[in-house]
């Protein structure tokens, strides 16, 4: 049976009926049309579906939508503003940290979370901080350069 939850996504409050077995990733993608969040494995291994839930990164394929009742969720769609891209998005563009782009939304959310919590990470801290996100195109090199360029 569906249950109504109230969840704030990208600063908007949604009251929405969810199935008890529905994941947050599926809620975002299929019910709300927020398809920027990607799915690469559905088992929490690849990180493509990374979003920020109450200030921490999660694999949204491993979170049930019903668990997010009363929570705050930030997805890739909420990052850019009317003024333009978020500086981390800008850095990914500038440094050539994108190829196929499928991992990029999740990667950028992890990078944002890392930099929100540690404004001046070392290279090793960057590598560890986003090691839950897999990329098969870039060898990670330019992603690290992009994040490194955003240190304070």
């Amino acid at each position: 049976m569906k249950k109504i939850i109230s969840v704030t996504i990208n600063n908007e409050i949604y009251e929405i009926a969810v199935e008890p077995n529905q994941t947050l990733a599926d809620l975002l993608r299929y019910d709300l049309g927020l398809t920027g969040t990607k799915k690469g494995c559905d088992t929490g291994d690849c990180g493509a579906c990374t979003v920020i839930l109450d200030g921490d990164v999660v694999n949204s394929c491993l979170v049930l939508a019903i668990q997010t009742d009363g929570s705050v969720v930030d997805t890739i769609e909420g990052l850019a503003t009317e003024e333009g891209l978020h500086p981390i998005q800008e850095a990914f563009v500038e440094k050539g940290a994108i190829q196929c782009g499928y991992c990029s939304p999740g990667m950028i959310m992890s990078a944002k979370n890392l930099l929100d919590k540690n404004t001046n990470p070392t290279e090793q801290e960057i590598r560890e901080g986003i090691s839950g996100n897999l990329c098969r195109c870039t060898g990670y090199q330019k992603i690290i350069e992009a994040i490194d360029s955003q240190k304070s």
Partner: protein
């Protein structure tokens, strides 16, 4: 000048904002979901299927088995149609099969209103089998009494034999030394982040529309027609943004089935969205190879003879089959063109998952064995491995004796010199002398590569480009070249901007591929796109430039030869003064009542050359013997890929390839049960492709040559970087330990066995070193 500049990717903003739409981001009303019923054995024949329970699940719309599909076999390889029998692909697939050839083979399919119902119902389809022993080991597959995996066909899919450079046996007889080695490579997988996915529906004209994550939209269209016995013109394939392919999507995997299902279900949209586990097990992978190499060498360091005998395992179905071994072997002739060389390869069916195209198409396996053998030969005569290669590798002006074509651009010698300097070879060689004993050892390694810029003369190389001037003075470009993340749309825009002398921002490349709209091109594979499309784009852009200038001439009453385009303005080339801007010209061409028209140019061009590319990897490693662990301290790939169109994007290709090579060298392999054919690790947790914390900083350099057969001097780059890291690392481990590890990956498991057999470890946790 747009070529040579690191302009921003055309699609970068769409991708960082999440706005780029991939196949799964397109929804059709009432779209159904289909799930395969897969075999639970590796080899056998289905004796009974019962779908009754599955049909009773709520939401199930249909169940089809092998009895319901067309009984015409078709080939799935993403090759252009071959007009000659020799190069024809093997037609050994049905949409669903009664004969089971690997664990995961497709016996039936369930269509339901949602994924959950489809999965549940697929699990309730009851299948009974007559089981046969799985054939996995080459010796068993080749045994006289081995059961044919495909009835009526040999278990040898293809065999290939060639020599070049003179009498090979005589060359071995005259060699001062003959060095032999046996090598094996593992089955690895592409692991592109976006799994295989496609959906199909019928439009209002009863045409089948297939939206698919494919590298080969135009080829997929033809193969769907062949599989379903339908005219190609009734099929339309659309490729949206694509989340990585690496060759795995150079094969038709889902397209014929989704087309079949929508036909059966009155045109309703049906989607197949593979799980990661399915995608790893049931799409394609890299052929495992077993290779014997013999090398003849003179005391002065001249490489005189080479003999390579390879077995390639294609698994349950041919897919790209023997083309892989043939293509891999052919790269030797452009790397070491002077040695008398013999290559013999056989490709075998086996009851394991299906191999297909994967980044560099057989070359990583062959060059791995070749570059390990080259190292062993250099060591045999006590020559520095870099000097040995400098003495023997290809140079500009050499003749590739396999193709009988002159090598028109080659910067390999400089690649080796630059790599040697970067890694500080000479100093470290001395410093590391003190690390050749004890538990922690250090070494340096090098390996070279050669690759091609397309598939000609084995396949046709055709590319199309259409450019149209817009009313606002910008241009739209349609190409058949397929953007899959490698950045081809961006470099096409750079090429057009260069030739038209337009700002890069004014060149708009249409992103999605649509076979009803985009010109014919065979797709993204063989690192062919920038090379092959360059000629079509160069010609089309020049044609449009001439038409723009002709119209400017009409408008100004000037001879067009006195006019030029500079930065999207018409300029009088005698005075350098601007005559008009492009928008003024465009508006006139569109709306003047008596003159002009929409100014367009369209070219379909066949490239009949194939430029070899070159490169090398240098590595510095530490080997921890008790931990059986290799640490790559430093790595650089240096490439000659002709003119580099976009340095930042090109660097990304090199990093990504080197990273994939590191994975293949150190950790990646499918673990297959030798008795049952079961794959233990078809998921991203247990299949170890490197994470952020597993790779060292990746370095790259380019030796830019100018390739005269290419529109902009450029050559292939996408695949080559994956080739040379594994042999370079193997050679560095040999340098560090004195042990030849001739099996990939060089995982702790492999190292443990090697160290134990050499007495470095006692096998009980103690150590001898």
């Amino acid at each position: 000048m747009a070529v040579g500049k690191s302009v921003k990717r055309i699609d970068a903003v769409a991708k960082v904002t999440g706005r780029a739409r991939y196949t799964e981001d397109f929804f059709e009303p009432d779209m159904l979901t289909a799930k395969y019923v897969r075999s639970t054995i590796a080899h056998g024949r289905v004796t009974a299927v019962n779908t009754d329970k599955a049909r009773q699940i709520e939401g199930v719309e249909a169940v089809f088995t092998y009895e319901d599909v067309p009984q015409t076999t078709f080939a799935t390889a993403g090759h252009p149609m071959a007009l000659s029998e020799v190069h024809k692909d093997v037609e050994d697939r049905l949409l669903l099969t009664r004969d089971v050839r690997f664990m995961g083979d497709e016996i039936a399919i369930v269509v339901a209103r949602n994924e959950l119902a489809a999965s549940e119902a697929a699990g309730l389809v009851e299948v009974e089998y007559e089981t046969y022993d799985p054939l996995i080991d080459p010796e068993d597959i080749l045994a006289q009494d081995a059961r044919p995996i495909h009835e009526g066909r040999s278990n040898i899919v293809g065999e290939h034999n060639y020599t070049f450079g003179g009498d090979v046996d005589q060359a071995f007889d005259q060699a001062d030394h003959v060095v032999e080695g046996r090598f094996a490579t593992a089955m690895v997988q592409h692991c592109q982040l976006e799994n295989h996915i496609a959906h199909a529906y019928m439009d209002d004209l009863d045409k089948i529309v297939i939206v698919s994550s494919t590298q080969i939209p135009h080829i997929a269209r033809r193969i769907v027609g062949e599989a379903l016995g339908m005219p190609l013109s009734r099929i339309r394939v659309i490729k949206p943004f694509l989340g990585g392919g690496f060759g795995n999507k150079q094969d038709v995997v889902l397209e014929p089935m989704v087309a079949f299902l929508t036909l059966k279900l009155n045109g309703r949209a049906v989607q197949i969205n593979m799980t990661r586990e399915e995608c790893m097990l049931c799409t394609r992978n890299r052929h495992p190879f077993y290779i014997d190499v013999k090398t003849g060498v003179m005391n002065d360091g001249t490489l005189v003879a080479r003999d390579m005998d390879a077995i390639s395992i294609t698994g349950a179905y041919a897919s790209h089959g023997h083309a892989i071994a043939a293509a891999g072997g052919s790269k030797q002739s452009s790397l070491y063109p002077k040695a008398a060389t013999r290559f013999h390869a056989r490709t075998l069916y086996a009851n394991i998952p299906v191999a297909g195209a994967m980044r560099a198409y057989g070359t990583p396996q062959v060059i791995y064995a070749l570059e390990c053998a080259t190292e062993d030969a250099a060591r045999k005569i006590g020559m520095d491995p870099v000097e040995f290669r400098l003495k023997n590798v290809a140079r500009q002006g050499d003749i590739n004796l396999l193709s009988n074509k002159e090598i028109l651009s080659c910067g390999l010698v400089e690649c080796l010199e630059r790599g040697r300097d970067f890694i500080d070879w000479n100093r470290k060689k001395k410093d590391y002398e003190q690390f050749k004993t004890g538990p922690i050892r250090k070494g340096l390694g090098v390996a070279c590569l050669s690759y091609a810029s397309g598939t000609y003369p084995v396949c046709v190389e055709i590319a199309g480009s259409r450019i149209a001037l817009n009313q606002d003075g910008t241009v739209h470009v349609l190409v058949g070249a397929t953007e899959i993340g490698q950045g081809s749309d961006t470099v096409v825009a750079q090429m057009v901007a260069q030739t038209l002398s337009f700002p890069y921002e004014d060149v708009l490349v249409v992103q999605a591929q649509d076979t009803d709209v985009t010109p014919f091109d065979t797709g993204a594979y063989a690192s062919r796109q920038a090379y092959v499309v360059s000629n079509a784009v160069f010609k089309a852009a020049n044609q449009l430039r001439d038409r723009i200038l002709a119209h400017a001439g009409i408008m100004t009453d000037e001879d067009p030869k006195h006019l030029d385009i500079v930065n999207a303005r018409i300029v009088d080339n005698r005075t350098s003064e601007a005559v008009m801007d492009m928008k003024t010209l465009a508006i006139d061409s569109f709306y003047h009542k008596e003159r002009g028209g929409q100014l367009t140019a369209e070219i379909s061009y066949k490239t009949t050359t194939n430029a070899p590319v070159f490169g090398c990897t240098f590595v510095d490693v530490t080997v921890d013997i008790p931990l059986c662990k290799i640490t790559v301290n430093q790595i650089i790939n240096v490439h000659d890929s002709g003119v580099i169109i976009n340095p930042v994007q090109a660097a990304g290709q090199v990093h990504g390839g080197a990273f994939m090579g590191l994975g293949a060298a150190l950790s990646e392999e499918f673990l297959i049960d030798p008795e049952s054919g079961y794959v233990y690790n078809n998921n991203l947790l247990d299949y170890k492709f490197p994470t952020f914390t597993d790779v060292p900083p990746l370095n790259h350099d380019f030796v830019e040559t100018f390739e005269p057969t290419s529109g902009y001097g450029n050559k292939a780059l996408g695949e080559p970087p994956v080739v040379s890291p594994p042999p370079a690392i193997r050679n560095a481990v040999l340098d560090a330990t004195g042990i030849c590890i001739n099996t990939l990956p060089m995982s702790p498991h492999t190292l443990f066995s090697a160290f134990k057999s050499h007495g470095f470890l006692d096998g009980k946790g103690g150590q001898h070193v």
